[in-house]
Amino acid sequence: MSEPVEVRGLAKTFYDENRGEIQAVKAVDFECREGEIFGLLGANGAGKTTTLRMLATILAPTAGSATILGHDVTAEPAAVRRKLGFFSASTALYPRLTARETIEFFARINQYPSDQVLKRVGYLVERFGLASYADARIEKLSTGMKQKVSIARTVAHDPPLLIFDEPTVGLDVLNALEMQEVIKEFRNQGKTIVFSTHIMSEAEKLCDRIAIIHGGRILACDTLEKLRQATGARYLEDIFVHYVKSL
């Protein structure tokens, strides 16, 4: 049985008129195991978002391959997308739809069985405490409320794999904590989660395994315990600096 996410030699090159080719991601390899939270830890511009976008089939890889639950991201992008929920700070919602409409729209478009859509929407509204404002337009909601709707829409079709790209960026402590709780809850439901962050404590707290990515390369990939042993450092921050400095 293969792993839910398998990435082999994945690379992405952009072309810029003035600077020529820019290698954002240089042949990364990793895999995520079923039911774990896999963390991509890196500074800004390390290649996290590009990698995750390739996994979500938003960007096409320049080289290498990635399979998500047995589907290749290049060959069967639609099948991949049906099975994943993608969340990032830049995935916004439609301001003129209501919360309920938003969740329903994403459930249907991701081909959740149509006879069960309404039930699912009802469940999610309940679960995320949206009931009091479910029928207000998104544009009227506060940041925290939008955040919840956003998570609800990510899992609207109950995907087995979830990708969170820096999900706590710009959130206050309470909202960030709640986000972490939600992610844990999803893991407990048996979903596989790929998660990227540049906040060390978050990775330390949440991730089962961590990949340290820098300059488009994965420098290390293991459980926190193993990383500690390998570097002799106690805190993730030190571990991270250890790898980056050793370049």
Partner: protein, 703 residues
Amino acid sequence: MNWRIVRLLLANELKMLVRDRRTVVVSIVLPVFIMPLMLLGTRFVQERRADSLRRVTYKYSIAGAEAKKARALVEKAREIASQLPEEGDGDRKSDLADFKFEEVRTDDPEGDLKAKKIHFYLEALSGEEADALAHEEARKQQAEEQEGERPDPLRPVRVAGVPLIRIHFQGDQDESNAGRGRVQRLLAGVRRVRSEEILRGRGFPAEPKQIVEVESRSLATPGQVSGSFVGRFLTFFLFMLMLSGGSVVAMDSIAGEKERGSLETLLTTAARRAEIVAAKQLSILAVALGITFIQVANILVYLTFKVIELPKDFVIEIPPAAVLTLLLLYTPVAVLVASVLLMVSAYAKTYKEAQFYFFPVNLVCLVFALASVLPGVSLRSAIAVVPLANVSVAVREVMVGKYDWPMIALTFLVMALTSFGIARASTRMLSKERLITASESDVADLEGGASLFSKHVLRWYALLWAVMFAVAANIPQLATFRRQLLFNEIVIFLGAPALMIWKYRLNWRDALALRGVNPMAWIGVLLSIPSGHLVGIGVFRLANIFVPVSERVLEQFSRSILPGDVPLWQLFFFLSVLPAVCEEIGFRGTLLYGLRRKFRPAALALVVGTVFGLFHVALFRIIPTGFLGVILTAIALLTGSIFPGMVVHAGNNAFGVWAGLQEFPLGRLDWWIYVAAGIVFALSFYIVYRNRTPYPGLRAPRR
């Protein structure tokens, strides 16, 4: 394609549009009210003007030696004014009958006219005086310009010795102008009536108008005549409505979503990109058609209530077959509109940027939609393969009842393919990473210098183009060909690049491509001069089939560049050496350098060539000079140097000048000669290619 998803997306799009109250008001409700207001307002103002012109009592005076006779003529005119048959349309009949005019006696009619005391005055000259005046004028004209327009042999002229009435008026005064027009028509009527009387008096057996009496009949039904008028503007009009209607959603559809970030959300759903594009296209289509429908209905309402009045014999007959054919022709137009708008939206990163592109795209499309205005263009021609222009022409034919089925089918096919191609391009655009990851700040602005120059170079050339144009039109000192040429070459093509090099601190050797060339390549370069020139003329002749050039324009042009009184060396210097050096510096120097990384080599040659062509302004020169520009750019790209281009450019121009002086008919050779020249030309290019030293720093060709 999963249609269930497309439907879902479409419903979603439309729901969001309807909820955007401001957009709905501005793009649908407002125009519906503005149109009648504008029509009514314009009509009101115009009626008031006509009314006030009618109510005026026009004051005039009569001067000159023959004032008495002229006065008698005016009196006669007063008598017959109401009986005069009106020329042209009958609508204006009343204005001569209502024409009130009153003579004012004055000693200084011109002063009074200038002081607006009178509206016009008549100066009656005797035959001799008129002859003297005509003689004087002819002499003056001759002194001013050697090559006056030949007088039109078909225009009636004054017979020598015939008295003359000159109507002096003030053309910038509305009432003076109107009075002048009316009195002119009255006097013409008087003359007609009196000449009949004279002839009758001498015993002429018939009325003069019975001589060679003409009876015209048109085979076209009133419906066809109206149809040909409507058909001329229908496509343009509907296309404009569709464009502006569709743009309401289109601008926001992809560009707006990109800006707000919801596009990325959408891209991670199970919907395929083709499905997303299809849904968006359908929503644009629906809105474009919806708004067009509302506007057309709006107009029909005004027509019914006579807010807009149609000419009397205006009959619109559209049989069912025509309705179906029009539907058949306009369906792909609507799809094309949606595709084009969607592509603009997909290309732009933000809503603002989409709007920014919308204007020029709009302009270009409208030019195509106006093809039906061109006289004599038939669908059975090359126009059938030009998208949009073909529909425009086809609709005009259908409106007069001509159904050219094979060509209509071809039109439909071309349009369908174009729409499909553009929609495909939009789909691909959604996969372009630069549009999704738009966050990278533009490095050029940080670095400045050469990379900033790349960003600005096209703007510079647009500015130069405008300067060249405005200067030529407004500075009389530059009106002669040679001075204008000197200005363009020295100031525009030489001065501006120097300024750019200085401003952006460019390395002038690099910017001007001052590099050595493989000696072997020179053989190819030299070989390409005569062959390239002939091929260029072949291209011009080919282009002439599609864009015919008036012979007179060509003649004028060659007269102006090859004046007879210039020494030979000057001719070659001004037309060959000077342009070759300056223009190569301007185009294959700084322009090419600035654009070298913006496009891949083939596109680069095309772009630089096109810009070069556009700088030659006149339509008939754009295509051949554009072609030359592409060749010169290709040579510069292959040799990495500006010098071969200079030699080819100079040689090409010199060849043309020489042929012009010898009156050698390069433009009338047999076609096989051009083909043979083409082969030699290809060979010369092959030699250059084999010995190439490519232009450094280009973008790699597409992998």
